[in-house]
């Protein structure tokens, strides 16, 4: 009977294609928008991912995002260094700054400042030049994927940052941030010269715990002794994501799109599947008259629903996969992130979709009187 169910489904080409297309589209909307949303959240934590060495990020207790901070003073840096258990503590600068291009236009860049002596917080991958050259006067490293935004700047060329001269001495590869700005690395001293932020000018202090000391314990010590916020990288990442979700509209916007995908999928599946069942109701009645039990008919309808569900889901996920591959290009504006949990969630949503969509059909089939075959 399963074969009969599948033949009834797949040989009704028009409805079969419409069902599969509807579910594929719903899957695409759900999963692709979901992956972009997650990708954006992950991307927002890019500046954190670029810094691997420290155990803790120390900052104002109310700072939630790398580019939204209240600066600290040099005195705060010294107080942190004085906390027992701190192996080292280094300033880390991060701020937006305008970059003037040769044609007179400008781009906003994210300027990262790292300590000249230790270079703690340096870019994870150097693609051209030597990181030590950053210690030269006015030297900057530029992220490879940011070069097109900065008029394809070359080593040795000069950029104007906030009307101050900066010389490109190398290129690096880093994860971009939420705002997709060009990323430029320089020393901490240069950074506060390029982007003055006032009397207090340390956005973050990167802290390493002494060997054997639990970073969380150290974080509690720092907070107790200095009144500053001390966060592990995971905590800082969570604060960043909370900030993006709470302070921007992307959560709601993507949520609406995902919900729309679900509703569209549900509406398409319900309408077409119900129509499909109605048109086959007479034949279901014939099967029932010939001795097919109601539960067999229910199984047939569910099989039809699940098959179109999985095929539509597969095609939709294939589309999302192709989209994700495109998004993996360096510097791509959209960086979808597609964990298995999202795949599972999309599958559950689609299965829910087809289950709800087939409920009406099931009701009709269960209540079907075989006597209608004689009408």
């Amino acid at each position: 009977m399963n074969l009969i169910a599948l033949r009834m489904l797949m040989r009704d080409r028009g409805k079969y294609v419409a069902l599969v297309a509807g579910l594929a589209f719903a899957t695409l909307l759900l999963a692709q928008q979901g992956s972009i949303f997650l990708g954006l959240l992950i991307r927002a934590t890019g500046p954190l991912q670029n810094v691997a060495q420290p155990d803790l990020w120390v900052t104002d207790p109310f700072t939630r995002y790398v580019l939204e901070f209240r600066p600290m003073s040099d005195r705060d840096l010294q107080r942190v260094r004085a906390v027992p258990g701190v192996a080292w503590a280094e300033p880390f600068f991060s701020s937006r700054t305008p970059v003037e291009l040769p044609d007179g236009s400008f781009k906003t860049a994210q300027l990262i400042g790292i300590p000249r002596s230790t270079l703690i917080g340096q870019p994870p991958v150097i693609t051209q030049g030597r990181i030590e050259d950053l210690r030269a006067p006015d030297a900057v490293f530029v992220d490879e994927s940011s070069r097109p935004r900065l008029a394809d700047v070359q080593i040795g060329q000069t950029l104007k940052l906030n009307d101050r001269r900066a010389i490109v001495v190398g290129f690096c590869r880093v994860k971009l941030g939420f705002e997709s700005n060009a990323v430029i690395y320089t020393t901490y001293d240069n950074a506060i010269r390029f982007t003055p932020v006032g009397r207090e000018n340390i956005p973050f202090i990167l802290v390493k715990a002494q060997d054997g000391l639990d970073p969380k314990e150290l974080a509690a010590q720092i907070t107790e002794r200095t009144g500053l916020g001390a966060f592990t990288r995971k905590e800082m990442r969570d604060r960043t994501i909370d900030f993006i979700l709470g302070e921007t509209g992307i959560g709601i916007n993507f949520g609406i799109t995902v919900l729309l995908g679900f509703v569209v999928g549900l509406a398409v599946v319900t309408a077409i599947f119900y129509q499909f069942t109605l048109e086959n109701l007479r034949y279901f009645a014939v099967l029932k008259a010939m001795g097919t039990r109601s539960r067999t008919l229910v199984r047939m309808v569910l099989l039809q629903a699940v098959v179109v569900g999985f095929i539509g889901f597969g095609i939709g996920i294939g589309g999302v996969g192709a989209f994700s591959l495109l998004g993996r290009q360096p510097g791509a504006e959209l960086t979808p992130y597609f964990p298995w949990q999202l795949l599972l969630l999309a599958l559950v949503a689609i299965l829910l979709c087809i289950f709800l969509g087939s409920l009406l059909s099931l009701r009709k089939v269960i209540a079907l009187e075989p006597g209608i075959v004689f009408k």
Binding site: M1, L3, I4, R7, M8, R11, D12, R282, Y283, V286, L287, K288, A289, M290, G291, T292, R293, S294, T296, E369, P370, G371, V373, F374, K375
Partner: protein, 281 residues
């Protein structure tokens, strides 16, 4: 097509009884009403009818007289409100839905006016359906269906879809589907109504032949007479000569019944064969 009048000689005879072999169908006081109150329609009013195995019975009468309701109850797809509706010794009303389904699988074959072939299945797949419902493997079902199709003259159209066949061919497929499971009871609802004279003739020949084949494969007691019980609902007087017995209904009641030997003497009623002969001349 002309209908015999109520007092037509072929319709004269005792009510609803047969003196032939073991009973396939026994109805006693069967009633069925649709709706309630003033709008209630009394489709059947205390029907008594006995049909032995191996007999081809035609139910005739005007539209709305209850023929289809009666055949629905006999085939177990509709419940009666009152009375006994026994098929091969079991009253449908005493069975659960599952038991009824299994009994219909085993005992009943259907031929419908509009054929009711599943349009997305090929001819051989359509014919295999009753066997697949019983759990027969598809390969075996197709082998048996091929034989049934060959018997109705469609041995070369296995892979056609119903829409690629003429009405007569579709009805022959439906008959093959009805007999493939060797049911002991075949119910036919206006099997020739959608067909022209020649095709109607062909279809009735096949149904008539099916009624003469041994229907004892499905649990008929040893020693039972060969032949299936066939009940045909029809308006078509040109096929009356195929009947062993004709039962006329009117307003939910059995009105008259006439047996084969009287039919033999009533050959003046025009038949499909007469029509065909006329056309040939």
């Amino acid at each position: 097509m002309s209908h015999p009048p109520a007092n037509h000689p072929i319709l004269a005879g005792p009510h609803g009884q047969s003196t032939a072999g073991p009973l396939a169908v026994r109805l006693k006081g069967v009633s069925r009403t649709f709706g309630e109150g003033k709008t209630a329609v009394h489709a059947l009013r205390g029907i008594d009818l006995e049909v032995p195995q191996g007999e081809l019975v035609m139910l005739v009468g005007p539209s709305g007289c209850g023929k289809t309701t009666l055949v629905s109850i006999i085939s177990g797809v509709l419940d009666s409100d009152a009375g006994v509706a026994e098929v091969f010794g079991r009253d449908w009303r005493t069975l659960s839905n599952d038991e009824r389904a299994i009994r219909r699988q085993d005992l009943v074959g259907f031929v419908f006016q509009q054929f009711n072939l599943i349009p997305t299945l090929t001819v051989i797949e359509n014919v295999s359906v009753p066997l697949l419902i019983r759990g027969v493997k598809e390969r075996d079902a197709h082998e048996r269906s091929a034989l049934a199709l060959a018997r109705v003259g469609l041995g070369d159209r296995f892979d056609s879809f119903p829409s690629q066949l003429s009405g007569g061919m579709q009805q022959r497929v439906a008959i093959a589907r009805a007999v493939v499971g060797t049911p002991r009871l075949i119910v036919c609802d206006e099997p020739t109504a959608a067909l022209d004279a020649k095709r109607g003739q062909d279809v009735m020949e096949i149904i008539h032949e099916a009624s003469r084949l041994d229907g004892s494969h499905n649990g008929s007691p040893t020693g039972s007479p060969p032949g299936r019980c066939v009940i045909v609902v029809t308006h078509d007087s040109r096929i009356f000569h195929y009947a062993d017995r004709i039962v006329e209904m009117d307003d939910g009641r059995l009105k008259e019944t006439v047996s084969r030997h009287i039919l033999e003497e009533a050959r003046h009623v025009p038949t499909y064969r007469d029509d065909a002969d006329e056309q040939a001349k």
